[in-house]
Amino acid sequence: MTTPIERTPPRITSVESEPRESELSKGGAPPTWLATEAFDLDDLLEDLRNRAQASDRAQERLAALLDAVLAVSADLDLSDVLARIVRCACELVDARYGALGVLGADGEHLVEFVAHGLSQEEQEAIGDPPHGHGVLGLLIRQPRPRRLRDVAAHPDSHGFPANHPVMHSFLGVPIRIRDEVFGNLYLTEKQCGTEKQGGTEKQGGTEKQGDADFTADDEAILVALAAAAGIAIDNARLYERSRRLRRWLETTAEVTQLLLEGMDEASAMGFLATRTRELSEAQLAMVALYDEVGDLVIRGVEGGEPSRAAKRPGAVLGTVLHKGYWRELIAEHESVLLLTRLGDSTIDSLSADVRELGDADPHGPTALVPITVGDDEVGVIAVAWAADAETYVGNVVPLLAALAQEMGLTLAAARGQQDRSRLALLEDRDRIARDMHDHVIQRLFATGLSLQAAARMAESTSVRRRLDEAVDDLDAAIKDIRHTIFELHRPTPFRELREEIVELVRVCAKTLGFSPSLTIDGSLDGLAADFEADLIAVVREGLTNVARHAQAASASVRVTSGDTIQVEVADDGVGVAPSAVQSGLANLRKRAESHGGSLTVRARTPRGTALVWEALPDRE
């Protein structure tokens, strides 16, 4: 809000103390040279007074303009800035109504209209905001200031819609940002001041019916405000862009960290879909990745409230995208922005395929962005917006493309990390097996031969028998070691258990309706088969309980391996009722106790339940 500086009108005491013309004439005497001089002096003083007042008014308006400039620059939120500009403009030129129309990308139509002076009810009664026809379109076609005495009488006027207040005087100026016309300021119904200056456009003799006309001073003031508004809008847009970019970078960093810390790809992609939808302000986001056999499989979907969807988003997890254009899109390394509108004669099936994955509107913009690393094809991100997001998405697609590129690198790094750790494990096993074969077995074998020789030389039967027994034991030990070496060369059990848990969580996602996050921290190498079976049972039972009882929107599974192995299954559901049948939990408790561990079920804050199963690992 502007606060015009209060100023005291200047006093010209010496001038006002002079006798006036009327007073000089009272005596009825003919005017003398003195009277003539006084008459001229009065005119001069009046002129000086008027000039002083005009100067004072100019200073006041200048001060008000500066206040307005400060006001419009005081905030960096674009919508606030636009509203302030309109309000300040109305106050500066005493306009009853004001509006700021934002031009679309085509530069021909208004895509946003910020009004001032009309209540919400009045705006709703009028209906759709103007799109830039009539007199408003005149400013779009010819972006220069316009002052009209009666807007309705202008040849370009299309008249007012129903429920629109009657407007007469009009002042419009374009708002430029560098060389680009951002939009226009429209002001109507000047409220005070009756001066009529030249420059108002003639309109075929139509007489003005409003309160007052806008003046050349109003126009100059508004042009100056529009210049300042352009800078304020530019700053707000840059700030908005940098803030949005920072949020996208934060998301990239989060997903990267999760993947490199050991979260499985499916969970990380679920998280990525969630954050992508939030950041894009979209209705639906989907992430699909190529699997080991080359199928493009949906790994993450976030698509609005599941209860509103005919098909719950989680139900499509694991679906293979068969249609050929998905592969073509990824192979071409090109993003594409599909746009279907209500009333289109045809339905773009590519767009429909994405939108039907969740709860998106049947029409609207849909972005398909491939995830690639160099020549490697990794997957695709798809995002679908509401129909009214058309003007917004153009700025989001480049950010999505950058995110997809980063995700490609992150996935490659995480897969490389997994491969390296797997390779290191295999190399370690190979080294151990080689050492046992080359050193331990040979020594035992030599020792056995030595003992056999000693047995032949032994005279005592009991000594010979005991030496033979020792040789037999050594033989058995050698056989055990050979068996262990054979086991070490088999496919790693670490990978099998880990993948079994990943697969289990993925399968459970279909029942849950969402994809639980999964983190495996530490090695699960060398666990005894029965311990592995118990661990799998804990994860399965935990997730089944969430699906059956929790009414949760999200869940997480964390397996931590150290001196003990801990499994935590947490959700954000309604919690466990005290009366609930807990036979499943009793079984889990028994499994924990059989390994020297325990089971804890506790409430989470603000809602939900956490099941914590901990046991001492039995290793082979």
Partner: protein
């Protein structure tokens, strides 16, 4: 790639949106040029581009799917680095010229391949004579010719000198 909802109607046009650019892709060897010119027009007009592929009747579903993917690839290459250009992909079956005239109703411009002198089916000429919108014919990467609504190519040549000055939407022409 699409499901017709009502035959013959054009894409939705709102007073808020610039009218569409329609890329008419037929099997005439010029699909890549047509797609490229259509994308350039769409960028210039800040408009949506509708890639419409017309296939002959009687193709098997496999053949149709294959053509769909091929057309999609052509469009993707035309959209190279034009991430903000909105588009749709449609495939229809029938006689190319009639289908394109029908589907381009309500559009700003229809882009089609220019007829070769020995062409048996003159799709470009038919579109120029019957389309309700401007028709841009293309025969190479930079070889385009715009015929405004209501003028055949020969008539346009007579008018071209005058039209070039007062048609603000006119694309680069040869």
């Amino acid at each position: 790639m699409q499901t017709p909802t009502n035959a013959g109607a054009a894409g939705a046009q709102s007073p808020n949106h610039p009218r569409d650019v329609v890329a008419g892709l037929v099997n005439d060897g010029m699909a890549a040029f047509v797609a490229g010119a259509a994308v350039r027009e769409a960028v210039h007009r800040a408009a949506r581009v509708r890639f419409i592929q017309v296939l002959p009747v009687g193709l098997s579903s496999e053949e149709r799917a294959e053509m769909d993917v091929a057309m999609f690839g052509v469009a993707l290459r035309a959209l190279h680095r034009q991430r903000r250009v909105p588009c749709t992909f449609e495939t229809v079956e029938g006689e190319a010229a009639q289908m394109l005239v029908e589907r381009s109703r309500g559009a700003a411009v229809l882009v089609v391949g220019r007829d070769s002198p020995d062409a048996a089916v003159r799709v470009g000429q038919y579109c120029q004579e019957h389309a309700a919108c401007d028709v841009l014919t293309v025969s190479g990467p930079d070889d385009t010719e715009l015929v405004p609504t209501g003028h055949t190519r020969s008539a346009y040549r007579v008018l071209a000198g005058d039209r070039a000055h007062d048609d603000p939407d006119r694309a680069d022409t040869t």
